[in-house]
């Protein structure tokens, strides 16, 4: 083992991506595979898992204590980072990316490294669509919004029928679990669940595969270490899309 104390990084720039999502750039390069994540230590508050939106940034949606504390930070403020952890997406092949909301984060480095051909991106409303310009530069982007203020009106899942799934070697998915579960059902019906790669979110405490708080049923796989990216076939007949455990370990419907 080598020492994995969090490294202190300084925030160099903050970009407001949408009213609820910000990107925090920092003064360190973290070499990671797309889909790996880091544990972000917000001093005095908590430590939370975050995908990397680039080798030196995280992109965060404000949802609770720790993310709110991050939003209160400014340039020059220091946070701790340990990682990268997890497996990340598999390597290569013609790739379709499907993202919902801030779930676009782990898929952005995949796209920006030239690995994504078509990128389906969903959001609640036009102002919440993230990374559209950056994605358009490197992939064919199709947008869906719940209220129709940008792109297709409806769920991003509805865009899937507009692409030829057969043409893709892998289908990388990240977003709210209900959306991912819907994608999995589509892939299953299309007989290609095995080509789906789903980036899961579960409550994480250690991030390194020891504490057990992120384990999913029925195989006991650890999202932090065996995942966060799982092939669709592994998720069929699992807790995925049905329930998850909270900080105490209690099951909650997703």
């Amino acid at each position: 083992m080598y020492e994995e104390m969090p490294i202190g990084v300084s925030i160099t720039r903050i970009v407001e991506e949408t009213p609820s999502i910000r990107t925090f750039y920092f003064d360190h390069e973290i070499s990671a595979r797309p889909g790996q994540f880091v544990m972000v230590w917000v001093p005095g508050v908590d430590e939370i898992p975050m995908a990397l939106s680039s080798s030196s940034s995280i992109t965060v949606q404000k949802v609770g204590d720790a993310t709110a504390a991050l939003f209160a930070m400014g340039e020059g403020d220091v946070m701790g980072i340990r990682g990268p952890y997890g497996n990340g997406f598999s390597a290569g092949g013609r790739t379709l990316a499907i993202a919902g909301g801030v779930g676009a984060t782990p898929l952005l480095p995949l796209a920006e490294s030239g690995q994504v051909e078509v990128f389906l991106l969903g959001a609640r409303t036009a102002s919440e669509v993230v990374f559209a310009d950056r994605i358009r530069r490197v992939a064919r982007l199709m947008v869906a919004t719940d209220d129709g203020t940008a792109g297709h009106q409806g769920f991003v899942t509805e865009l899937v029928s507009r692409v030829d799934l057969e043409g893709f070697d892998r289908i990388c998915v990240c977003g709210p679990e209900v959306m991912m579960a819907a994608v999995l059902r589509i892939l299953e019906r299309a007989g290609c669940a095995g080509r789906g790669e789903f980036s899961l979110q579960r409550y994480m405490k250690c991030g390194v595969g020891l504490c057990g708080s992120c384990c999913i049923d029925p195989h006991g796989l650890r999202v932090c270490r065996d995942g966060p990216v799982f092939p669709g076939t592994v998720l069929l007949d699992s807790e995925f899309g049905r329930y998850a455990r909270d900080a105490s370990g209690r099951r909650q419907r997703v």
Binding site: V78, K205, G209, D217
Partner: protein
């Protein structure tokens, strides 16, 4: 290297598939995870410590991997009674429920939930970073005796897990023995801290935590050796075990079986791989090995 005869064993009233047990709090939060570790070769598994009420644990960071060990301050997150449903997938398996409480009464209550549903109970009287629980009780011999007595009863194999953060661990071991424990588990983590020099604050959310892993193995061996001289109930060695030779060393110090925690970070299949080195059909009877270093 000394090797042992394979086959099921019985220690402190509990039947195990081999001498290698998953330690409490390591991948022990869900039934599926415990089942996975059993599938991967563990002789028995201990659950995450379960208490009288749900707890979310300490704010993070909760765990940091060091070069030769791990520090953690999880803060005993647990779903309390809701954990019972995790046991459904573990019917008939060698599962030991780790429990904690703030009073003998609470210990009795939690133990009651598990009675008849697990192979035995392990009292966590040793977590060094949960105020009012664990070591807070576990460094007081009278409380250890009372809590043990509140749980131990015929038909409920009761193990008591000790903290090394005391002046004399044998005093605590003897208290557990007086309280009716069937076995002693030694040791839980060493009270420890690391500071982030770049953030200028303790790295764990709880500031204090417990050190585990290879770094503490020599302390754990010493505790087991001490307890073997003082106590007459079996001892389960725990702390920094990561190889078959470490298992033999713990057994020579006096352990009848071992628990393995931190080493799982290298490989969830570590139980099978240690068992591969540890057992052989021409191996020794474990009785020839346990305590043999007391010369």
């Amino acid at each position: 290297m000394v090797v042992l005869n394979p086959g099921p064993i019985e220690v402190g009233g509990i039947r195990l598939k081999n001498h290698l047990i998953l330690a409490a709090g390591i991948l022990g939060s869900t039934g599926a995870s415990l089942a996975r570790i059993l599938r991967y070769g563990a002789g028995g598994v201990v659950t995450k410590s379960i208490g009288p009420a749900p707890m979310v644990g300490h704010p993070g960071p909760c765990l940091v991997v060091l070069e030769d060990g791990i520090i953690n301050a999880m803060g005993l997150p647990n779903p309390s009674a809701a954990f019972m449903e995790e046991l459904n997938v573990l019917q008939g398996e060698p599962v030991i429920a780790s429990i904690f409480g703030g009073t003998p009464e609470e210990f009795r209550t939690v133990a009651g939930w598990f009675t008849g549903r697990v192979s035995g109970i392990e009292l966590n009287l040793s977590c060094p970073h949960a105020e009012g629980y664990g070591a807070a009780i576990g460094s007081n011999p009278d409380l250890v005796e009372e809590c043990t007595r509140a749980v131990a009863s015929p038909g409920v194999p009761t193990w008591v897990k000790l903290t090394p953060n005391v002046t004399d661990i044998t005093e605590i071991g003897l208290a557990a023995e007086r309280g009716g424990a069937d076995a002693i588990v030694a040791i839980n983590t060493l009270k420890a801290m690391r500071i982030s020099t770049s953030l200028r604050r303790p790295v764990l959310g709880n500031r204090y935590g417990g050190l585990s892993g290879r770094a503490i193995f020599p302390v754990a061996v010493r505790c087991v050796y001490d307890l073997y001289e003082a106590c007459s109930i079996p001892i389960i060695g725990c702390g920094g075990v990561s190889t078959a030779d470490n298992v033999i060393e713990m057994m020579m110090a006096g352990a009848s079986a071992v628990e393995i925690g931190s080493a799982v970070i290298h490989d969830t299949r570590i139980f099978a791989s240690i068992a591969g080195d540890l057992y052989s059909s021409d191996g020794l009877d474990a009785r020839e090995v346990v305590g043999c270093a007391h010369v």
